[in-house]
Symmetry: C2
């Protein structure tokens, strides 16, 4: 046990205020100086100094709001200039890589994606393709990223972006962070996809108002992330957990990780395909269409009752362990029929001791679609960038 100590110097304070103000604009959007002052707990002269400094540097502008409210002279809005700080977000999935140049405020300036197959999924291939696509985006948009954030479905060492194991990609011990950083020539941070999905929901999705949340998503695998007290949960050495490798069904189906009955084997994309009588490699679009079809034909909902049961079983464990106020279902889980989600919500509350005691655990569906992890990768890249603008 160590006793923390800390100190604050005037320079630290100025930088802190500048970063806090920029972060406020980045996350919540344009607002008046008065709002900034009250939200940040700073006096107006401090706000004026910071805004003037940022405006001089071309990072913000001030403008008359389009819609006037009330009488009198309208207050100017402080707007972030999207292109004043740009990051490159990369979402490496099992079947696809998506990339985007993202400006302050979260504006997507341009994007590019391509499909992955068994033969194009090798780390070297993926890294080369990312580098080429980044150059295309830079040329097309006339921008240069100040940082890169990468989402990977695997166990990642945050410090240097080493991917220890990404079973569904077939990757082991890939020095992704340093290799990408070298070819892109920009500071590159790599994160676990579930962790970044949670970050995206917290900053721009269903969990903006929640400080204790569990994000759960299905792609080919099942991943998730946990935010506690507004801060992403990290374990030893900065590693995040792999909630998809909770054992929900001992002796169940074999998982890539070597175990049997992991949550991802029982409720992931192949499990959903099997439940609907589709081949396990059914294209995502077809699977989503079939799930939407169930919405219209509730009589067929029983097809998903077993998957639903394992989803609830895992959620009871997760909620009993972590006591979140909100569970966000993302990616493919966001396509589950509403009636199934309603049923899961009721079952979770009925069966979880902690949900009963601590107050009904809410379940929300992500509004970010397939972009969740891409948005999270952008936010990962913005963290150091906003402090340096």
């Amino acid at each position: 046990m160590t006793v923390p100590t800390s100190g604050t110097r005037p320079d630290d304070a100025r930088r802190h205020n500048r970063t806090a103000l920029l972060r406020r604009l980045h996350v919540e959007g344009p607002c008046t100086r008065a709002t900034l002052a009250s939200e940040l707990g700073l006096n107006r002269s401090t706000i004026k100094a910071v805004v003037d400094g940022l405006a001089e540097a071309g990072v913000v502008t001030e403008a008359v709001p389009a819609q006037r409210t009330g009488a009198g002279r309208p207050s100017l809005l402080v707007l972030p200039e999207a292109q004043a700080a740009v990051v490159l977000a990369v979402d490496i999935r099992v079947d696809q890589v998506a990339m985007a140049m993202v400006g302050i405020g979260g504006q997507i300036l341009g994007r590019h994606s391509w499909n992955l197959h068994r033969t194009t999924r090798l780390p070297g291939e993926v890294i080369t393709h990312i580098a080429e696509s980044a150059q295309l985006l830079r040329d097309e948009l006339g921008v240069r990223e100040q940082g890169v954030g990468v989402s990977v479905p695997g166990v990642v060492r945050r410090a240097d972006g080493l991917v220890h194991e990404a079973p569904n990609l077939g990757w082991r011990e890939v020095a992704l962070g340093s290799r990408l950083g070298a070819v892109l020539g920009s500071p590159t941070t790599v994160g676990n996809d579930g962790d970044l999905g949670a970050l995206a929901e917290h900053v721009r999705g269903a969990a903006r108002d929640a400080n204790d949340l569990l994000y759960l998503s299905a792609d080919v695998g099942v991943g998730g992330g946990v935010i506690v007290g507004g801060v992403p949960l990290r374990g030893s050495g900065g590693y995040v957990g792999e909630i998809g490798h909770m054992i929900v069904r001992p002796g169940g189906r074999a998982c890539f990780c070597g175990e049997q009955g992991c949550w991802e084997t029982e409720v992931g994309e192949p499990a959903l395909c099997r439940a609907l009588g589709l081949p396990e490699d059914t294209p995502r679009g077809v699977l989503v269409a079939e799930l939407r079809d169930l919405e219209a034909r509730p009589g067929r909902l029983d097809l998903l009752s077993e998957v639903g049961e394992w989803l609830v079983t895992g959620l009871v464990t997760a909620v009993n362990m972590l006591a979140p106020e909100l569970v966000v279902l993302g990616d493919l889980f966001a396509a589950l029929p509403t009636r199934l989600v309603d049923r899961i919500r009721e079952e979770l509350h009925r069966r979880s001791l902690v949900s009963r005691a601590a107050g009904r655990t809410r379940i929300a569906v992500s509004p970010l679609g397939r972009d969740g992890k891409l948005v999270g990768a952008a936010e990962l890249a913005f963290e150091p960038v906003l402090g340096a603008v």
Copy 2:
């Protein structure tokens, strides 16, 4: 998502330094002014002012060390005065209540305990008995506690000490914190037993050097606590999770909480009794003696193989979810045969994706015996007290 702001004033700094120094002495024991200066990152004149102030208030003394090291004049040791701040620790278990008056530095000044049975386990009875025993301890020791910390095996609302549900005690919606606070006349804080067991290991047990740990203990139920980055993990509204109610064996034995196959039904005290062919209500001492006997007769270890399997299954899930560097086995689990613990350690590492990737998760046995939660309750009470001395 909110942007935090903060400020520091000179008064805050003085109080912060005083509390940090006292906390250092409380946790790590006596040391020299020079050590305090280097560990706390403060200059010697600041340390002198703080130590002189505390000595004047009778909270610390300075003395020549018993063992001299090296030549020259020995450095004086700064020692906390145990009786300068005393708290009352209460550990409410299913079969026993244990209480202790604890001084700065963790010294137990006096203790008292009694057994609980079905008829004496009612909240009113327990509260009355605690109040009477507290008065006896105060009179006997000539001290008065400055705060009270209480450990309960249940779901507790930290803010006011409401026990929502303590299934093994048969308690529901008991306003324990306010009722005890009223009869004792001292500020009273109530915590979950697993959470406090983790705190005890972190401050005074097997996890002093670990910042990311999972504590797991068996009494009648199974409880646990998680510390992440040196801070106890809290969920929504300050609630802590109930790791004993992870579902490890769907369709398994019925649990008090209404589920089937919770971790606590498969590996708790009754499960250990069943595995050894003992009645489920075998006295603790007999059960522990039987477990020690297995140590000497490894041939009988197979009796525990099923319990061991469920222990590993739950640990794989917990380690995959939380990525701790250390798992501490406490209370009754500390009596498990060494060979079984060794086997669990190997199996966990082999089967957990996260343990393999993030580095071998260590497993340690608690050195605190049955006192773990009592020690944790004392530390819970000391948190506000050390800041107010």
